[in-house]
């Protein structure tokens, strides 16, 4: 289980070597967004507005962190259940999003979009929130501050532990009977 080091944002060469079940360490910039932020991003696209974050090659972490203690960049920051973003994810993937970090299974439309757009879905361990926070070295508020913990933030990940749950070929870990 020697992890593969991955630099964010993702490029096609990195994505091509990832296979479901591989353990990885993610380092580099990554945006947070969960339910409410995804809804807003989608509404902005519907209105033809420019999004507050770039999507091309980027990775979104499904997380709503707890407040940061003084002197720390972020509070506890583990993944939330990804399926709740499934209604929005295919559209973001079609606009260039390459990576998602969350927990749990995805629905077929997301699986199809991951294959079509040659993207990747990473799983972080749900509930390992204080440990994962140690692998986030900075956090900057980017958009939707009124959403509180659900606001979009730009994080810097540092050897953030994850597992490839869906690769660009559509392989899923673990395989379901």
């Amino acid at each position: 289980m020697t992890p593969i080091e991955i630099r964010l944002p993702l490029d096609d060469a990195q994505i091509a070597k990832l296979r479901a079940g591989m353990t990885v360490r993610l380092s580099g910039p990554c945006y947070t967004a969960r339910d409410a932020a995804h809804k807003r991003l989608t509404e902005m696209l519907d209105r033809g507005e420019e999004l507050p974050i770039p999507l091309t090659g980027q990775c979104i972490y499904y997380v709503g962190p707890s407040p940061a203690p003084e002197g720390k960049p972020i509070g506890a920051a583990g993944p939330t259940s990804s399926y709740r973003m499934d209604a929005y994810a295919p559209r973001l993937l079609s606009l260039g999003l390459k990576g998602m970090i969350g927990k749990g299974a995805r629905t077929q439309p997301v699986l199809d979009a991951i294959c079509r757009e040659r993207a990747v879905y990473f799983g972080a361990v749900g509930g390992a929130a204080a440990l994962l926070a140690r692998h986030i070295t900075s956090s900057e508020l980017i958009a939707f501050p009124d959403l509180q913990s659900e606001a979009i933030r730009l994080l810097t990940l540092d050897h953030f532990p994850a597992v490839v749950l869906i690769d660009a070929l559509g392989n899923v870990f673990p395989e379901r009977a």
């Binding site: 289980m1 506890a76 939330t80 299974a105 361990v125 929130a129 440990l131 597992v163 673990p174």
Partner: protein, 281 residues
């Protein structure tokens, strides 16, 4: 008559929610470490290693165990000889919850209107309070910090008497199977059997807080708990959904009398941290 001040109640409630969110209970910790040491799937073991190390990280860094510090649920069993003084019982609890979540840097995860506005209340209130009157002059408080990754995977089934033990068994097992990796396994399953629609659910919620290793006093239900635990673990969902041998840490059943036409079953799922704390005033 014994007097308890609302200030004392407020302080106790705040402490309970801080404890529930920051400190893993000793029975859960021991079960998770045992699951880690026994795990044969490398990926599941990797997840269990992270989860057991996470308790240490949370303590050292002054963070909650999980970023979803939950909706605040409080069971209050109030001795009938107790009189709360110096304010309102409800208000004292809500202030205690706000103290814990605002002062303790816990995440504020409650929205006021569920469908249209979904505006954050900014202090994690209102807590959901289940108060009951019991004999005596003590107050027992059970605080549960309930994350919704697992709450969303919970179910109530209005089974009918012909379903019998197998029907109940299958419904509970199916709930774990449908939940899959989403509720942060290894899960704790609280089960309520009997009562009516809402009593079954309430029993299920309360059952989630039963200490590990304690079985139902009726041997038939105790056997059902053990059989269910084995069957859920045989599903192979595993820690974090990565496969392996530990999908659940416990199945705890509570029962109540029910109607001649009914056999309600509720399953409340908790994540592996099963965050709760209790105290007696």
């Amino acid at each position: 008559m014994r007097e308890i001040s609302c200030e004392q109640l407020r302080t106790a409630v705040a402490e309970l929610f801080l404890t529930a969110n920051r400190q893993i209970s000793s029975d859960i910790r021991a079960a998770m470490e045992q699951a880690r040491d026994r795990e044969t799937s490398p990926a599941a073991r990797y997840a269990l290693e992270q989860l057991t190390e996470n308790y240490v990280c949370a303590e050292e860094d002054g963070l909650p165990i999980c970023q979803d510090t939950g909706m605040a649920i409080l069971f209050a069993d109030i001795g009938q000889d107790v009189h709360f003084t110096g304010g309102s019982f409800e208000d004292a609890i809500q202030r205690g919850v706000a103290d814990a979540y605002v002062g303790g840097l816990l995440r504020k995860s409650v929205v006021s209107d569920p469908l249209f506005d979904r505006k954050n209340t900014l202090d994690n209130t209102p807590a959901i309070i289940h108060a009951s009157i019991v004999p005596g002059k003590q107050v027992h408080l059970l605080a549960i910090a309930k994350g919704f990754g697992s709450e969303n995977m919970s179910r109530v089934g209005m089974l009918t008497p012909s379903a019998g033990e197998e029907g109940v068994f299958n419904y509970i097992l199916e709930t774990a199977r449908l939940a899959g990796p989403n509720p942060c396994p290894p899960i704790v399953m609280g089960v309520g059997i009997g009562g009516d629609f809402e009593q079954a659910a309430l029993l299920a919620k309360r059952a989630t807080a039963r200490p590990l290793g304690v079985r139902h006093p009726d041997a038939r239900y105790a056997a059902l708990e053990t059989r269910l635990l084995d069957a859920v673990n045989a599903l192979g969902i595993g820690a974090a959904g990565y496969g392996g041998r530990t999908t659940a840490l416990n199945v705890a059943i509570l029962t109540a009398p029910t109607h001649i036409a009914g056999l309600p079953v509720a399953v409340n799922i908790c994540c592996h941290a099963s965050r709760h704390a209790e105290t007696t005033l």
